[in-house]
């Protein structure tokens, strides 16, 4: 490329309305593209941060969500006999037998939404130490009391400190609000597992069992022992973090695929915009092209100059789009997570990878949009181009 970059840069800078409209169009498309990736990443981040590396969750093999998993009392007892389960200082195993149900609550601004209610065992503070009460107190074991995640308190007017929620034929008092700093648990309501089991007539059946390993490195040997026990063959252990990561996959992939599909359709319009802008640039500079060619610049240089100019336009648009999308990080929204069938609150999250992909997307639009006009510029006949004046 022999044509100086400042030639390209200044041509890019001196252009007017059409260029700005093109940049705005590209910016809009890249904004949507980036936002979609940020949304999918935000969901992943939220769910991945929900589980811990040293907790193991046990579900029924056939179940693809916690609420469809069933573990009876005999199995719960067998699990307690497995090796490598961490113990409290008083000798109690750190295990939580958790019934998980879904209830309906009225959202801010009307409309009903599904909310996960999780029953937990008294060892819960050792199992999930990341849970912090920010208002009120812990529920009392043996009482129909609940604590709610802060994302729930924010979104559901009926789930405030001191208010009562009606379900399973009773009134449940909210006595505390907790946070896990943005994990999926923030979108749950927790209560005493035993109280919830009896309210839902589940006797001693729970949905999942989660336990803490004495050492995360012992997972393989725990798993071996688990598999070796034929009575447990319908059940499956999985690292808690991995479980929630898998739960995020379906929703985030769905959002990505749908979002990228939609933005690709938008991008056709933006790319055509870039093409039109570049065609007019080529037409306006025909004599210039003829002049450069007569001075000895070859076709490749001309092609490169116009292609790079087109890339400038779309990269500028892309940068604006990414910049605007980065403000979405301050927003948190909620969506129905169809892996758990309940509402999940999350924040848009930006990552270097997302920025790179968004720029690649912008560059692709510039390349595709600028290609035909650049080819036209490069193919011009010198004499004809010079006569165009």
């Amino acid at each position: 490329m022999k044509i100086p970059l400042k030639y390209i840069m200044r041509n890019f800078m001196t252009r007017k309305l059409t260029t700005f409209i093109t940049i705005a169009g590209i910016a809009l498309v890249v904004f949507v593209f980036t936002a979609v990736l940020m949304m999918a990443f935000g969901i992943q981040k939220t769910l991945v941060s929900t589980g811990s590396d040293d907790n193991v969750m046990i579900t029924r093999k056939a179940a693809n969500s916690e609420i469809s998993s069933i573990i009876g009392p005999d199995i719960q007892n067998i699990i307690r006999t497995l090796p490598h389960i961490a113990t409290e200082s008083n000798g109690n195993l750190i295990i939580s037998n958790e019934p998980v149900v879904i209830i309906n609550l009225v959202k801010n601004g009307g409309g009903v939404s599904n909310v996960t209610v999780r029953g937990v065992s008294p060892e819960i503070d050792k199992l999930r130490p990341q849970v912090k009460l920010i208002e009120g107190r812990m529920f009392n074991w043996g009482l129909r009391e609940l604590i709610v995640g802060d994302a729930i308190a924010k979104r559901f007017p009926g789930a405030q400190l001191g208010s009562y929620i009606k379900f399973a034929g009773g009134d449940w008092k909210i006595v505390g609000i907790f946070t896990t700093n943005g994990s999926g648990f923030d979108s749950e309501i927790w209560g005493d597992a035993v109280q919830l089991q009896s309210a839902f007539n589940r006797v001693s059946t729970v949905s999942t069992v989660t336990l803490k390993l004495d050492n995360p490195e012992n997972y393989d040997s725990f798993r071996k022992a688990f598999i070796a026990d034929r009575r447990l063959q319908q059940y499956e252990p999985i690292i808690e973090k991995k479980y929630f990561a898998q739960q995020s996959e379906m929703l985030s992939t769905f959002i990505r695929v749908l979002g990228i599909f939609i933005t690709l359709i938008f991008s056709i319009g933006a790319t055509i915009g870039a093409t039109i802008t570049m065609y007019s640039a080529v037409a306006n500079r025909t004599v210039e092209i003829g002049t450069l060619r007569s001075l000895g610049f070859n076709r490749i240089s001309i092609l490169a100059a116009f292609l790079i100019e087109s890339l400038f336009i779309t990269i500028a648009g892309g940068a604006v789009g990414i910049f605007l999308a980065s403000f979405l990080q301050f927003f948190s929204i909620s969506t129905l997570n169809f892996s758990s069938f309940s509402e999940l609150a999350f924040s848009f999250a930006l990552s270097p990878t997302i920025i790179v992909w968004s720029l690649i997307f912008a560059i692709a639009m510039g390349f595709i949009g600028g290609f035909l006009p650049s080819i036209r510029a490069a193919r011009m006949n010198i004499v004809t181009a010079l006569r165009a004046g």
Binding site: I3, K6, R10, T291, L292, L295, G296, N298, V383, G389
Partner: protein, 227 residues
């Protein structure tokens, strides 16, 4: 001794919608090194076409064009581009400066194709602008210059590679009389002082009078030579 520019039995025709338009018919001419030639003739007689063939931006349909001993009608497109960049200096009627580049940058363009270092390029550009008397306008953009000044920048661009031949297509055609005289004076000087072989197309007899030889074209034929 044969000339630096030899046009041998050259014909040129254009095809449009499968109709052949013959623009130059069997033209032969010989221009000596250091000669200042004016090409005259009515509009459409083929002056620009002949100039384009000599300067290697167009190819003859028939015949040979031998410049400095090399048959340029046989060169490939890329070889021809390279050849142009070192052998020919172009001066256009409408100056054809790049509007987004300063005078300095415009003059620098042709030597970006050489291996000269940045410092060497600066020196060459300053020398060229010095010859045309515009080194105080180096950082001006074309639109900040008068027509005459623009044409002088264009001439500096044409001579910055120190080519043997300058081709000029109506270089004074767009200028007032005063500026035109300045440009003609400059052309004469480039011819005398720097020994440039110049081929200049012009409609203006006054401009043509500066040349050593005036050649007349009429409907694609070379009809007369005035010395």
């Amino acid at each position: 001794m044969s000339g630096i520019i030899q046009v041998k039995n050259v014909s040129k025709s254009y095809w449009r919608d499968s109709i052949e338009t013959s623009v130059l018919h069997d033209i032969s001419l010989d221009i000596k090194e250091g000669e200042f030639t004016a090409l005259m003739g009515p509009s459409g007689s083929g002056k620009t076409t002949l100039l384009n063939l000599i300067s290697g931006i167009d190819k003859p349909s028939k015949g040979e064009i031998i410049i400095n001993g090399a048959d340029i009608s046989k060169l490939s497109e890329s070889a021809l581009a390279k050849w142009r960049s070192t052998n020919i200096g172009f001066v256009f009627q409408f100056y054809n400066l790049i509007p987004v580049l300063t005078a300095f940058e415009n003059v620098e363009l042709p030597i970006l194709l050489t291996k000269l270092s940045k410092a060497e390029r600066k020196q060459h550009v300053e020398t060229a602008l010095n010859i045309v008397g515009l080194n105080d306008r180096m950082d001006h953009y074309p639109k900040q210059l008068s027509g005459g000044q623009e044409q002088r920048v264009a001439i500096a661009r044409a001579i910055v590679t120190d080519p043997v031949i300058l081709v000029a297509d109506e270089p004074t055609g767009d200028l007032d009389k005063h500026s035109a005289d300045e440009i003609l004076l400059l052309m004469e000087r480039l011819n005398k002082e720097f020994n440039k072989t110049i081929v200049m197309v012009t409609h203006d007899p006054h401009a043509a009078s500066k040349a050593h030889v005036i050649r007349h074209l009429e409907k694609g034929d070379l009809i007369q030579e005035t010395v």
